[in-house]
C-alpha cells in the first residue's frame, strides 16, 4: 500500500541545500523564539529568580545604579563583574530588576549568540552544515540551558565567551597568520576571565596549546613567545584588572579567595562537617562532575559524546584534534581540579549519600559541558553512517521524552527549586512586603534573611555590608540610619548588635520587635524615641527630667487656713490640676512637716498622685524658720532626727521618683539664722549628714526618692560647695536664683557649671522680682519668661530639673488669684509640653537633601538630615520660625507650628540656586511634562 503526499515547490527536502548564512539566520530566529518562549514559561512558573545567587547577581547590578552608595565599587570582589555590567542597561528598571528579567535578557542574548557560534565552531571543524545544525540544536534545545538562559545567573555569559573564544582560537590554530582570530580569541578570553573563574583556566589551556603548537620546532620558539605574549597580554588583562581591583577597593589582591564570602571559605565549612566528598579524592571528583555534566547534558547524549571523544582521538582527518579536545574539555578539567582542591562543591542526588545535609547543590556547573557535548555530537554526525545517525536521533528523542515525563530532571531548575541553591522564601518576606512603609532597612544581604526583590523595598533603602559608612555606623548606633532591621540568627547584624549586650540594649531602646519567626526577627524604629534622643542623653519625653511648679504660696503660706477649710481638698485639687495642665511632671509642695500640717500635706500628695505628678517635698519644720508662730532654734541634730522619724512614720506619702528636701534654703533658719554665711563648715556638715540620713531612711522604707536637691540661694551655691560636699550630693547643685536680666542668668549658669563641674537643678526661678526686674506687665512677664526658658533650653544638657516659683500669688505668679492663666502660663506650657517636628527636605526634582544642616532657633545648635532628607527636632510647642539655609539652595524661612506631645510633619522643597546644565534640562523636561 503506497500513500503519496504532494508538498509543493519548496520542500523541506531542499533545506540542506540552503546557504550557510540562511541556515544560520534560521537557527538564530529559531533560538530567539525558543528563548522568549522559555523565558515566558519560566516566568509563569515564578522561577526566574529561583536561585539565591540569581537575586544576588541582580542586586549587585542594581546597586551600581541604585543604592545609598551607588557606584562601581558595588560590583564587589567575589563574583566577577562582567555579568553584572552586562545587566546595567536593563537594571535601571525596577520591574526588570524585581522580576529578574534584567538578567534573563542578558542570558538570553548570550544563549542566542552561543548557539550561533556553536554552529560556526562545528562548521569550522567539520565543514558540514547539517552536522553544525544538529550540534547547535543539541545545545539550544537542552532544557537545562533553556532554563538557565531565562535566569540572571552568570553561566550563559561565560558559555558565550567560552564559545566565542574557542571558535576564534580554533581559527587561529588552524591558520596562525590569522591575527584577527588570535586577537578576538584574546578579547573573548579576557571577557571570560571577568565573567567566571572558569575563564582563567581557559586562558591557561589556551596558553598551553600555543606552547604545544610551536614547541616542537626550535625555529618557531620566537613565534611562540610572540604569539603567546600577544594573546596573554589581552586575555590575562582581565585577571590583572581583577586582582588590582580587589587590591585597591578591598585591600587584598586575593580577596576573592581569602574573603569570608569566598567559595573556599564556604567549602572549609563543609569540610568541617565531613561533607566535602571530592576534597583530595580524585575518583570522587571525577564521578561527581561526570554525573553532574551527564545529567545536565542528558545521560544518553552524554554517552554519545563520550563515543565522540573516542572517535575524535582516532580521527586523523581533523587537524589539531587534540587541541580541539583540550579546549572542549577545559570545563571538565577545571571543575575536577577545583573539586579536588576543595575550591568548589557539587552535590548531585544521583551519588550524594542520603546522610548528607543537602543532596543537590551547584549542579549548574555541569552546564558548562553542554557546549562540549553539542560540538562532539555535531562532529560525530559528520562522520557516521545513516544507521548511527538514526541511533543518535532515537537517543535524542528518548532523552527528550525522559525530560518531558520528568524521569530526567531539569537539574539546574531542581537545584533552584529544592536544592541548596534555592532562594529562601521566609514568611518574614511576606510580612515586610505588607508592612514596609518606607525608611532604610539594615540587613545582612549575604545571609539572605529576606529577598530584597520580593520584599518590595527599594534598593536605595537597603543598608548592607557594601554601604560604607552606613553599615558600620549602624552597628554603633542602630537607630542612626535604619528604620527597619531584619536579622536572623548568627548573621552579621545579629553578631554585631544582638549578641553584644550594650548594643542590644540600645537596639531595644530605639526599636520595637515587630516580627518574630523561628528564622527571622524584624525590628522597627520607634520614631518618637529617636526624636527624643536628639540633644538629650536620657531620652525622656521632656527637655528636663523634672519640670516642677512651686505652690509654696498656697501649700505653705496658706497651710493653716487649709487645715480648717472644709473645701481644702478642692482648693488643692484645683492648684494641682493647673500645674498638671501646664505640662509639669512634678509639683513642689511647701507644707511644713510638723504633725499639725500632716493632713494638709497628705491632701497635696493625694491630689498630685491623682494627676500623675511627682511631688517635690519642699517643706520644713516650722521651728526651723519660725513659721506659724513656732519658736525658732531648732538644731541641725534635732532636724535630722525629726526628719528621719517623719520619713519612717509616713512611708505611704512617698513614691519612687519623688524629691525630698528636708530644709530648703537652710541658710534662712536653724543655727544658721543671723550668722555669717561664711561659716560654711557647719552648713556643709549638715548637708552631708542630711544626705546620709535621708538615703538610709528611704532605703529603710524601700522607696527610691531623690534626696540630693538642696536649694540654696545662688551666691551660697556658688561659694559654699567644696569637693567632699559636692561628692556627697552627687555633684548636683540646686539653686533658687533670680537675676535682673536673662543674660545674667545665662552667665550665672555657665559660670556655675564651669566652676564646679556640676549638674544643676533650678529650685526656684521666675519673674518678675520687683527688686530685680521691676514691674512687668503680663505680656512682659511672658516675654521675659520665654527668654529665660530659652536660656534654660540652651543649658538643658546640664539642667537636671527646674521649678517655677510660683504658681499663684506673688509677683511671679502665672495664674491670677482667681486661677485664671496669665500669658506666662502659656510659655511654661509650651516648654514643659514640647512637640516633635519631622522635617523632610527635598530639592525641586524630588530628591531628598541628605546631610543638610538645619539650625535650631532656640540654641543655635545644628542637626543634619539623614539619607532620606529627614530630620527630627524636639521643640517647644507653639509657632517657631525656622530658617532653612542650605548651601547651593535658596534659603527660606518657614514657620512651623509645634503641637504639644505630637509629631508634626513638614515637607519643604528647596530650590537650587546653582542649577547645572543637566539639572536645568531635567527641570525643563519636567516643566514640559507636568507644567510649571
Amino acid at each position: 500500500m503506497t500513500i503519496t503526499i504532494p508538498w509543493g515547490t519548496k520542500p523541506l527536502y531542499q533545506i540542506h541545500k540552503s546557504t550557510n548564512s540562511l541556515m544560520l539566520k534560521g537557527l538564530v530566529i529559531f533560538t530567539i523564539v525558543l528563548s522568549i518562549g522559555a523565558i515566558a514559561f519560566v516566568y509563569s512558573k515564578d522561577a526566574v529568580v529561583a536561585y539565591g545567587d540569581s537575586e544576588s547577581h541582580l542586586n549587585i547590578a542594581k546597586r551600581v545604579v541604585d543604592s545609598i552608595t551607588p557606584g562601581a565599587s558595588q560590583l564587589g570582589g567575589i563574583w566577577l563583574p562582567i555579568p553584572h555590567v552586562m545587566m546595567l542597561p536593563f537594571i535601571w528598571s525596577d520591574t526588570l530588576w524585581r522580576t529578574g528579567l534584567a538578567g534573563s535578557i542578558v542570558s538570553a542574548i548570550c544563549y542566542v549568540i552561543s548557539t550561533a557560534f556553536l554552529y560556526h565552531t562545528i562548521h569550522h571543524i567539520t565543514q558540514r552544515k547539517t552536522a553544525s545544525i544538529i550540534g547547535a540544536l543539541t545545545f539550544a534545545l537542552n532544557p537545562n540551558v533553556l532554563y538557565m538562559q531565562a535566569t540572571p545567573m552568570s553561566e550563559l555569559p561565560l558559555i558565550m565567551f567560552f564559545v566565542l573564544s574557542t571558535y576564534y582560537f580554533l581559527r587561529y590554530i588552524q591558520n596562525d597568520s590569522d591575527h584577527f582570530a588570535l586577537s578576538a580569541a584574546g578579547l573573548f578570553s579576557f571577557l571570560a576571565t571577568l565573567s567566571r573563574y572558569d575563564g582563567w583556566f581557559l586562558v591557561g589551556i589556551q596558553g598551553l596549546i600555543i606552547i604545544a603548537k610551536y614547541i616542537r620546532s626550535r625555529q618557531a620558539w620566537g613565534k611562540m613567545i610572540g604569539k603567546g605574549l600577544y594573546f596573554g597580554s589581552i586575555a590575562l588583562l582581565g585577571v590583572v584588572i581583577w586582582i588590582g581591583w580587589c587590591w585597591l577597593i578591598l585591600g587584598d589582591p586575593l580577596y576573592f579567595t581569602n574573603s569570608e564570602f569566598s567559595a573556599k571559605s564556604q567549602q572549609e565549612e563543609w569540610n568541617r562537617k565531613g561533607q566535602l566528598p571530592s576534597y583530595r579524592n580524585l575518583g570522587s571528583a571525577v564521578s561527581y562532575y561526570t554525573t553532574t555534566a551527564a545529567s545536565n547534558a542528558g545521560f544518553l547524549l552524554f554517552l554519545v559524546a563520550c563515543i565522540g571523544i573516542a572517535m575524535l582521538v582516532r580521527d586523523k582527518s581533523i587537524n589539531n584534534r587534540f587541541a580541539i579536545l583540550a579546549l572542549l574539555l577545559t570545563p571538565y578539567l577545571f571543575y575536577i581540579l577545583t573539586l579536588f582542591i576543595g575550591q568548589s562543591i557539587i552535590f548531585v542526588p544521583h551519588i550524594t549519600p542520603s546522610s548528607f545535609e543537602w543532596r543537590l547543590f551547584n549542579v549548574r556547573y555541569g552546564l558548562m559541558m553542554v557546549p562540549c557535548v553539542a560540538i562532539l555530537i555535531g562532529y560525530m554526525w559528520s562522520r557516521i553512517k545513516l544507521i548511527h545517525k538514526q541511533i543518535i536521533l532515537s537517543l535524542a528523542l528518548i532523552q527528550a521524552l525522559l525530560f518531558l515525563v520528568g524521569y530526567s530532571p531539569v537539574l539546574t531548575y531542581a537545584d533552584g527549586a529544592v536544592g541548596l541553591s534555592k532562594a529562601k522564601r521566609p514568611d518574614a518576606e511576606r510580612w515586610i512586603k505588607e508592612n514596609y512603609d518606607g525608611g532604610l532597612v539594615l540587613m545582612d544581604d549575604y545571609a539572605r534573611s529576606i529577598s530584597i526583590v520580593r520584599s518590595g523595598i527599594p534598593m536605595e533603602q537597603i543598608i548592607y555590608i557594601g554601604n560604607k559608612p552606613y553599615w558600620e555606623e549602624s552597628f554603633d548606633q542602630p537607630e542612626r540610619h535604619a528604620r527597619w532591621i531584619v536579622t536572623q540568627k548568627d548573621d552579621a547584624v545579629w553578631r554585631n548588635i544582638i549578641s553584644i549586650p550594650e548594643k542590644e540594649a540600645r537596639l531595644y531602646t530605639f526599636f520595637q520587635k515587630v516580627y518574630t519567626s523561628p528564622d527571622t526577627i524584624i525590628f522597627r524604629r520607634q520614631e518618637n524615641r529617636v526624636a527624643q534622643g536628639i540633644g538629650s542623653e536620657n531620652f525622656t519625653d521632656t527637655f528636663w527630667r523634672y519640670q516642677c511648679i512651686d505652690t509654696m504660696k498656697v501649700s505653705r503660706d496658706a497651710a493653716q487656713d487649709l487645715l480648717t477649710d472644709p473645701d481644702a481638698q478642692a482648693v488643692i485639687d484645683t492648684q494641682v490640676s493647673i500645674v498638671a495642665d501646664m505640662g509639669a511632671n512634678c509639683v513642689a509642695v511647701g507644707t511644713p512637716y510638723d504633725d499639725a500640717f500632716l493632713p494638709v500635706l497628705r491632701m497635696w500628695v493625694s491630689s498630685a498622685r491623682a494627676q500623675g505628678l511627682h511631688v517635690w517635698f519642699r517643706g520644713n519644720w516650722s521651728a526651723w524658720e519660725g513659721w506659724f508662730g513656732a519658736k525658732k532654734g531648732m538644731t541641725t541634730q534635732q532636724h535630722l532626727q525629726e526628719t528621719r522619724a517623719f520619713i519612717s512614720a509616713n512611708a505611704d506619702l512617698f513614691l519612687d521618683g519623688d524629691i525630698f528636701t528636708g530644709a530648703p534654703e537652710a541658710e534662712n533658719g536653724g543655727p544658721f539664722t543671723g550668722r555669717s554665711t561664711l561659716e560654711f563648715p557647719e552648713y556643709r556638715a549638715f548637708l552631708i549628714s542630711q544626705e546620709q540620713m535621708k538615703k538610709e531612711a528611704f532605703r529603710a522604707i524601700g522607696v527610691d526618692v531623690v534626696t540630693n536637691w538642696y536649694s540654696q540661694n545662688g551666691w551660697i551655691a556658688q561659694n559654699m560647695y567644696d569637693e567632699p560636699t559636692l561628692e556627697a550630693v552627687d555633684r548636683l547643685v540646686t539653686v533658687d536664683h533670680y537675676t535682673p536680666t536673662v543674660e545674667s542668668m545665662d552667665e550665672y549658669l555657665t559660670e556655675l557649671k564651669n566652676q564646679k563641674k556640676v549638674r544643676i537643678a533650678l529650685g526656684e526661678f521666675g519673674n518678675p522680682i520687683p527688686d530685680l526686674n521691676g514691674d512687668q506687665s503680663p505680656k512682659e512677664q511672658a516675654q521675659y519668661l520665654q527668654n529665660l526658658m530659652t536660656v534654660f533650653y540652651k543649658h538643658r544638657g546640664d539642667i537636671e530639673g527646674l521649678s517655677y516659683w510660683t504658681l499663684k500669688y506673688g509677683s511671679t505668679a502665672i495664674i491670677t488669684d482667681a486661677d485664671e492663666p496669665k500669658p506666662a502660663s502659656d510659655v511654661i506650657r509650651n516648654w514643659f509640653k514640647p512637640g516633635i517636628v519631622k522635617i523632610e527636605l527635598k530639592n525641586q526634582f524630588g530628591s531628598p537633601l541628605d546631610a543638610k544642616e538645619i539650625r535650631n532657633p532656640y540654641d543655635d545648635s545644628v542637626v543634619r538630615t539623614d539619607y532620606n532628607g529627614i530630620v527630627y527636632m524636639r521643640l517647644p510647642s507653639g509657632e517657631t520660625s525656622l530658617k532653612l539655609q542650605v548651601p547651593r539652595y535658596e534659603s527660606e524661612t518657614v514657620v512651623i507650628a509645634v503641637k504639644p506631645g505630637e509629631i508634626v510633619n513638614y515637607k519643604f522643597t528647596l530650590k537650587s540656586s546653582e542649577l547645572s546644565r543637566w539639572e536645568r534640562f531635567r527641570l525643563w523636561i519636567r516643566t514640559l511634562v507636568s507644567g510649571p
Binding site: T4, I387, G406, S408, A417
Partner: protein, 535 residues
C-alpha cells in the same frame, strides 16, 4: 535442521530437568492457612508468589478477581485496597496462566506444584528462543547457541525464578519470542506478516503479566513499525509504503489496549487505574514478613518517585556490579555479553539496535526504580529479560571470539561459577536481603545468605523433599545437580576446543594457516534475508 532439533531437544530436556529439580511446593492445594509454606525456602516464602497464587485461587475457586480478606492477609503486603475490596498487587496474567496446570495437576493431588510448574514452560520456551535467535539471526555455531541457551537457563536468575509464579519467566518469553517474530517480519518472506501480528498481539498480553513490559517490548514494536512503513521523499511529493499486513497487527494492538481498558474499568471502576496505583494493604497479622526493602517512596522526598534518573548511577551499580545483586558478580559468564555487544555494535543494523535497546531499556528502567534490588531477591531478578537477550550476545561472542584457546576455557570457568551460584538460590531460597538491609539487621546477604540454608539442610524443592531427602543431604544434592549442569555446559564448549586442536594439528601437518580454518560456519539462508531486510 535435524541437528538443531536435536540440540533443542537436548537443551530443553536439560533445562526442564534442572528447573524441575528445584520446583518448590508440596502435595495438595495450599491455602491461606498453610503458614508453614510461607517460611524461607518454602513455596510461598515471598509475598510475590502468595499474591499471584491467591489471585489464581480466587479466579478458580470463587470466580472473582478481588481477594477475600483471608487471602488478602495471606498475600499481604502485595495487596492493594480500594472501595472495600482487596486486590492482588499484580496484573492478572501470571495468575491466569497458572489456572490450567492448577486444575490439571489437582487430579494427582499436585495442584500447587502444577500451578508453579507452568513457569518452567515459559522459561524453557524463552531459552529455545535464545537458541533460535543465535543460530537463525546471528548465524552462530550450534555449540555457541547451545552454550548461550544453557547460560540463559542454568547460569542466570532465570533458574531461581523459572519455578515460581512471578512475571519474569513469561516476560522473558514474550520479549524473546517477539524479537524473533520481529526478525521474521523484517525478512519480508512469505507469511512474515505473521511476525507483526504476533508482536502486536503479544504486546498487550505481556502487559497483563507485568506493566513494565510496555517499555521492554517497545523497541520491538518500534522495529516492527519501522519495517512496516517506508518513507520515500522526492522533490514534489512524499511516498509512504505501508505493508498491509501491519494493519492486522494494529487491530490486534487496539483490541489488546481495549481489553486493558475494559479490565481496569470492570475491576477498578476506572479505565486508567491499575492495582499498583491503589493504596497498599498490609495485613494486621504480624506473622507475615515484609520482605520489601523499605526503600523510601515518600512523596515528600524531592528526589523520590517510582522511576527517576536520580537513582540511575547507584541503580546501575546495584544491578551490574554490587556484591548483593550485581549481574556480573552473580553470573560472571555475562561478561561475554559485553564482547557480544561490541560485536553487534560495530555491525550496526536496526535489529541489533533493537536488541541493544531492549537491554538498555531493561537496565535503565530498573536502575531508575526505587527498588532496584527487587526486594528480598536472589540476584538481579529484574534483569532476567536482559539475561535472555544477553545470552544471545554471549552466544555471538563465543561464536565470533578471537583467541578461542584462551577465551573458551575462561567462558567454561565463568559458566561453571555462574551455574554454581544460580543453583544455590534455586535450591534454597529467593528471599535474600539486599546489603542495605542486611547491614541494618546485621545478617549475611547475597550468596552467603542462601548458602546458610544449604548448610542447614533446608530446601523447598518438591523433588528433593519428597523423594531424596532420606538419601541425600541438600549439600550433596546441590553438588550433584550443579555437577551435571557444569558438565553439560563445559562439554558444549569442549566441542570447538577439540575442533580447534584437531584443526590446528591438521593445519600444522598441512602447513596451512590456522586462522581461517578455525572458524566454524553454519549457513542459514534465513539469516542473510534478515540482513537484507534490515538494510
Amino acid at each position: 535442521m535435524i541437528k538443531h532439533l536435536a540440540n533443542i531437544l537436548v537443551i530443553t530436556t536439560v533445562i526442564t530437568c534442572a528447573l524441575g529439580s528445584t520446583l518448590r511446593g508440596t502435595w495438595g492445594t495450599i491455602d491461606y492457612t498453610s503458614t508453614n509454606e510461607t517460611a524461607p525456602t518454602r513455596a510461598f516464602e515471598s509475598s510475590h508468589e502468595r499474591s499471584s497464587y491467591a489471585q489464581m485461587r480466587m479466579l478458580t475457586d470463587y470466580g472473582r478477581i478481588d481477594l477475600l480478606k483471608e487471602w488478602a492477609d495471606f498475600a499481604s503486603p502485595d495487596t492493594a485496597y480500594s472501595g472495600g475490596k482487596y486486590y492482588s498487587f499484580f496484573p492478572p496474567g501470571v495468575a491466569v496462566s497458572m489456572i490450567p496446570f492448577y486444575v490439571w495437576f489437582s487430579q494427582w493431588n499436585l495442584a500447587q506444584v502444577g500451578s508453579f510448574a507452568v513457569f518452567i514452560l515459559y522459561t524453557v520456551a524463552a531459552a529455545v528462543c535464545v537458541y533460535v535467535m543465535c543460530t537463525a539471526v546471528y548465524k552462530t555455531s550450534g555449540f555457541a547457541a547451545v552454550f548461550a541457551t544453557l547460560t540463559a537457563g542454568l547460569a542466570s536468575s532465570a533458574l531461581s525464578y523459572g519455578t515460581v509464579p512471578v512475571q519474569h519467566g513469561p516476560s522473558a518469553f514474550f520479549i524473546m519470542s517477539s524479537l524473533l517474530a520481529a526478525a521474521w517480519y523484517s525478512t519480508k518472506r512469505k507469511f512474515s506478516d505473521l511476525g507483526a501480528w504476533y508482536v502486536a498481539a503479544i504486546y498487550p498480553i505481556s502487559i497483563f503479566f507485568d506493566y513494565p513490559n510496555a517499555v521492554l517490548l517497545f523497541p520491538t514494536i518500534a522495529f516492527v513499525g519501522m519495517h512496516a512503513v517506508r518513507i520515500h521523499p522526492s522533490l514534489n511529493n512524499i511516498k509512504i509504503d505501508v505493508r498491509s499486513g501491519i494493519i492486522v497487527g494494529v487491530i490486534f494492538g487496539i483490541i489488546g489496549a481495549f481489553a486493558h481498558v475494559l479490565y481496569n474499568q470492570a475491576v477498578f471502576g476506572d479505565p486508567a487505574t491499575v492495582a499498583q496505583f491503589l493504596p497498599r494493604y498490609t495485613s494486621d497479622s504480624a506473622t507475615i514478613i515484609d520482605e520489601k526493602t523499605g526503600v523510601s517512596n515518600d512523596s515528600t522526598d524531592p528526589f523520590g518517585g517510582i522511576f527517576t534518573e536520580y537513582r540511575l548511577v547507584n541503580g546501575i551499580y546495584t544491578l551490574l556490579f554490587a556484591s548483593d545483586k550485581g549481574l556480573f558478580f552473580f553470573f560472571p559468564v555475562y561478561l561475554f555479553m559485553l564482547i557480544g555487544i561490541r560485536h553487534i555494535f560495530t555491525q550496526a543494523s536496526s535489529f541489533n539496535n533493537t536488541m541493544l535497546a531492549t537491554i538498555g531499556a531493561n537496565l535503565l528502567l530498573y536502575a531508575s526504580f526505587n527498588d532496584p534490588w527487587g526486594g528480598w531477591a536472589y540476584g538481579p531478578r529484574y534483569l532476567i529479560p536482559t539475561m535472555f537477550v544477553g545470552a544471545v550476545l554471549v552466544g555471538v561472542a563465543i561464536s565470533k571470539i578471537r583467541f578461542r584457546w584462551l577465551m573458551l576455557p575462561i567462558a567454561a570457568i565463568l559458566y561453571s561459577a555462574s551455574t554454581a551460584i544460580a543453583f544455590i538460590g534455586a535450591t534454597t531460597t529467593n528471599v535474600v536481603p539486599p546489603q542495605v538491609e542486611a547491614d541494618y539487621f546485621n545478617i549475611a546477604y547475597g550468596v552467603p545468605y542462601a548458602w546458610q540454608f544449604v548448610e542447614a539442610n533446608a530446601s523447598g524443592s518438591f523433588v528433593y523433599n519428597q523423594f531424596l531427602a532420606n538419601q541425600l543431604t541438600v549439600h550433596e544434592w546441590y553438588l550433584y545437580i550443579v555437577a551435571v549442569s557444569m558438565l553439560v555446559g563445559t562439554t558444549t564448549l569442549a566441542v570447538p576446543i577439540f575442533s580447534w586442536i584437531s584443526k590446528k594439528a591438521y593445519d600444522t601437518v598441512n602447513s596451512k594457516s590456522s586462522r581461517n580454518t578455525a572458524k566454524i560456519k553454519t549457513e542459514y539462508p534465513f539469516a542473510s534475508r534478515i540482513e537484507r531486510g534490515v538494510a
